[in-house]
Amino acid sequence: MIAYAPYLILLLPLLAAVSIRLFLYPFPRISITVSTLACLVSFLGSIGLLLFGSSMGEVTAPALPWIEWAGLRANFGILGDPLARGMATLVSGVAFLVHIYSIGYLEKEPCRSRFFAELSLFVFSMLGIVLADNLISMFIFWELVGLSSYLLIGFWVERPAAGAAANKAFLVNRIGDFGFILGILGAWALFGTLSFADLPSRVAASAPGWAVTAVGLGLFCGCLGKSAQFPLHVWLPDSMEGPTPVSSLLHAATMVVAGVYMLIRVLPILEISQVTMMTIAWIGGLMTLLPALIACQQNDIKRILAYSTLSEIAYMVMAVGLGVAGPAMYHLTTHAFFKCLLFLAAGSVIHGCHEEQDIWKMGGLGKRMPFTALVTILGTLALCGIPPLSGFWSKDAIFAATAHSPGLAAVSMVAGFFTSFFMLRMILVAFGGTPKNDAARHAHEGSIFMTAPMAVLACLTVVGGLLPVESYLHFPHAEGHEAWTLWVSLVVALAGFVPAYHFYRHATQDPLSLPALRDKFYVDEFYRRVFVSTQDAFARLTDAFEGWVVRGFLVRGSGVVARASGQGLRLVQCGQVQVYAAVFILGVFLLIAWLWRQGVIR
């Protein structure tokens, strides 16, 4: 029985979600308590696994049997290797902090119970991905996470923009999942197993070829969708329509990095093919630069942070593409801390300015919300990779890996330049200067529920660099640091601050105007022109078919035919007896003739 205890970590949030949904909607306080407690217990359980597991080696709980065929075995089990345990602790810990924050952020929201139910559902799904021991159960939780994201983005159901954004997120994810499924099936066909524990041994016997490349690229498609990399990155900025706690938990710290986690899990398959690794690395590299450029011209505080998230995830993807999983996970961990912190701070700002999200309508918040300003600065420094904060160590590990690919190194360092640029722009405009409107003038800090989690995250941001992430995860360590990447990246990042300071020190409106950047390089418009309109035309065609052929011809037509034939046959009833007699006699003669023909009458 005790052996099944690890499942509690997974199932308690599910229990919370179900009980809130079924019984507790009218009782927001009880719902909040149930949801937060479940998350806390999951966190404590994960810590327990983390600490005790390391003394016992791998911890696996017995699997629950599900699919057991001749060729395929896919059961629900928990893979308790260090990677999973560390990730589970991270996810449940950050989720717990966001739960506390949401208590303060949504205290005036009437549908709080629903929010916490959906949040618990998300925690369950995300832990499911992290703890899954084979690709199929991971895929099931993958889809569940997509569902939770849909529900949470579209939380404010009365806003059409939120609904549209939720749809977009789900549909774009679905496209990625299509490739993911193909990859899973290919992996099964090639290697005969889908279990992460068995993969390394099976894979070692394979040779590179187009099949393995295809499988690797298919699996990468899943990452493209979930982690929002090019070309499926369009949903993440729109997902900022959801409440800020959702943006911080799902779309910064945990859900979007599920793609990276999955890639690390299937790294044995990816490593066989050079083509796959190159593709992953270069897509990652390009995606570090692209969103950084776009963010330089964005005015919504959450969108700026969303684009910076895209860029940071790209760093992780690039690291996986270069074959170094350790730095990727290291950056994943530190990114979770400072990005979540930045989003919570943004939420505090929005809350303080009474739901205002445009940075040009804020201003002067540095004096009015000093704590928020301080944590934002700390988060920014970590994000830009300034020592001694955590982000510096993790980003530097990734830069070290790019030392042998000058192209990638150049791209990612230029991205670092622009990251510094737009982050300082954001801070100067929102926190510096003078208040631009009334709401900003009367801004104030949030309640203790909002400030406490930020404080915890700020501490983690500062000291996170000391966490022994890479050694704990037992990943093969790359060669020693190349000193030149460290210095060059630091100089470039610091250099990014200079032009931002110059332009935005006292700016009341944006002195730079670059339409291509502001309009996100027109990717959305391209998609709408090419894909959405063809889909629309096809939908209109099928609608016309349904209207004319099915409804008109078949359904109404059969009615018309019945009616017409009835009207026609009515004419037989003429009322004239003699006509009836004549027809009767004719019928008798025909009958006799027919019987004669049959030989019945000899």
Binding site: Q578, A582, I585, L586, F589
Partner: protein, 168 residues
């Protein structure tokens, strides 16, 4: 039996039948019908069905035709007006009738039994009352009883149908 009897009776039968159908005056038609029925009775005699011939005259030519004439006089049915022949109906009848008239002898010739000739033989298929009665009351007695009930029902039906509505 001389063939001449048959031919005379046959011609007379057909002529009076056509007369029945053709005359516009209902009384004339009724008289033609009487003639037809009597001719038919004579034909029954040539077929040695004596009992039936008598029954035919008594019931048909006697009772039924009297009934017809009573009704004609009761309703004071007028002579039917001359009218253009209903061409559709005529075509109908000519088609069916003509086809049948030419078809029937051919059909009849297919039956070997149709070539049998008539022989006067006493007792063979005799039409005496005794013979008929024996059959009626033994093999066909249920039908006989049913016919009795039928006649009762007809009587009651006629009385009901011809009642005038009570004035009240």
């Amino acid at each position: 039996m001389e063939p001449i009897f048959f031919w005379v009776l046959a011609v007379g039968l057909v002529v009076s039948a056509i007369g029945l159908v053709a005359f516009r005056n209902p009384v004339t038609s009724a008289v033609c019908l009487v003639v037809t029925l009597v001719m038919e009775a004579a034909l029954f005699v040539t077929l040695e069905a004596y009992f039936l011939a008598v029954v035919q005259v008594i019931v048909y030519a006697g009772a039924v035709m009297v009934l017809f004439l009573f009704v004609i006089m009761l309703l004071d049915v007028k002579e039917e007006a001359r009218q253009r022949p209903p061409w559709a109906k005529v075509v109908w009848v000519v088609a069916i009738g003509g086809g049948a008239v030419f078809g029937v002898p051919r059909i009849a010739s297919l039956f070997p039994a149709a070539a049998k000739t008539l022989h006067w033989e006493q007792g063979k298929g005799g039409g005496s009352a005794a013979e008929l009665g024996r059959l009626l009351f033994s093999s066909y007695s249920p039908l006989f009883l049913a016919t009795g009930v039928l006649l009762l029902v007809a009587t009651v039906g006629v009385v009901v149908l011809c009642r005038k509505d009570p004035e009240s």
